[in-house]
């Protein structure tokens, strides 16, 4: 699609870069690195997505298996900004422990804070998340907090010093898209720190709709890793994020139930 190239220059002027905790991202799309069939597909998909910030999890080294499982054997920390998460933690204490271990790896002070409250739904424990966020920001972490779509909690996470608040679109891995655009829109309207929708995006239109709510970015993993063709879907998502962002900035036409002709009504022949 050469027209893409030719308009690229013009297009870059149409949007600003997303800045989170002082770090400027090249893309408004952040992607996870889990659940890919192979590391090769993972890398190709991430490159196709255009994302430069990628999430990783902190886990024990499995001493009985090949060490190849370590993500750093496949992901160049020079090429990608590593955002460690606290996925799998069910208490504030655990989340803080994992965050400290992640920071000790020496890449950056950022952490994607996740404190899960229920194993079946993986919904966040907002009280424990708030508690952990306070502890971590006090320790100098730049906390990007995964939360539900509750405005009150989002406001408190901002007060707690989080550099980004990340409400869910729908449950992790569900692919249901933005179930409650009102709440997402309201959170964006009321917060000053970046709002990045995390979890629930299933396909390109979900990502597009999410960005059209005016949020600053989207974080996804399963939508890419579990697509029949992750690399092709990653291209789709790169476009979808751009599409939704630009449409939001462009200001959509009013929608109305009555029709309005797009061709002139005058000048008809007798």
């Amino acid at each position: 699609m050469t027209e893409v190239d030719t308009v690229q220059g013009a297009e870059d002027a149409l949007d600003t870069r997303l800045v989170v905790g002082g770090h400027t991202l090249a893309s408004r799309l952040i992607v996870g690195t889990g659940k890919y069939a192979t590391n090769e597909v993972m890398i190709d998909a991430i490159r196709a997505s255009g994302a430069d910030m990628v999430t990783v999890a902190v886990r024990r080294i499995d001493l009985d298996r090949t060490q190849e499982e370590g993500i750093l054997h496949h992901l160049d920390p020079e090429e990608f900004f590593l955002l460690a998460n606290t996925a799998g933690c069910y208490t504030a204490e655990d989340a803080v422990r994992y965050a400290r271990l992640a920071r000790a790896a020496g890449f950056n002070e950022f952490v994607k804070l996740e404190v899960i409250g229920d194993e079946q739904t993986l919904l966040p424990d907002v009280q424990a998340t708030l508690e952990a966020a306070k502890t971590l920001t006090a320790e100098g972490f730049k906390v990007m907090a995964y939360t539900n779509d509750d405005l009150i909690t989002a406001l408190r996470l901002e007060d707690a010093g989080c550099v980004a608040v990340m409400p869910l679109a729908s449950p992790i891995g569900s692919g249901l898209g933005v179930v409650n655009p009102y709440f997402i829109r309201e959170i964006k309207r009321r917060l000053e720190v970046p709002v990045i929708v995390d979890a629930g995006v299933g396909t390109a239109s979900d990502a597009c709709v999410t960005m059209e709510q005016g949020v600053d970015g989207v974080l996804m993993n399963t939508a890419l890793a579990a697509a029949d063709d992750p690399v092709r879907m990653a291209h789709a998502m790169r476009h979808a994020i751009r599409a939704g962002r630009l449409a939001y900035l462009a200001g959509r036409m009013p929608s109305r139930e009555i029709a309005v002709p797009s061709s002139p009504t005058r000048g008809m022949l007798d």
Partner: protein, 73 residues
């Protein structure tokens, strides 16, 4: 895991293990063929500074966690 005549019992990544008595953390990593730059070490719930692994020696009953980054969302 290498075993020598004199070892101490520790809890390593959730499992009982024998490590050389008086071994340093850097020695342990070496024996496990783990690159220090790829590992974060927690000794008895305390995270060790990466540049001082050799200063820490492992003793009987220590709990050691060796962690790294894996794919995650």
């Amino acid at each position: 895991m290498n075993t020598t005549k004199t070892t101490v019992g520790v809890q390593l990544n959730g499992k009982p293990a024998e490590v050389e008595d008086g071994a340093s953390v850097s020695g342990l990593l070496e024996s496990l063929d783990l690159h220090p730059g790829m590992v974060v070490v927690e000794l008895n719930r305390e995270i060790l500074p990466r540049d001082r692994y050799e200063e820490f020696t492992i003793g009987e009953g220590d709990t050691i966690e060796l962690v790294h980054f894996v794919g995650g969302g």
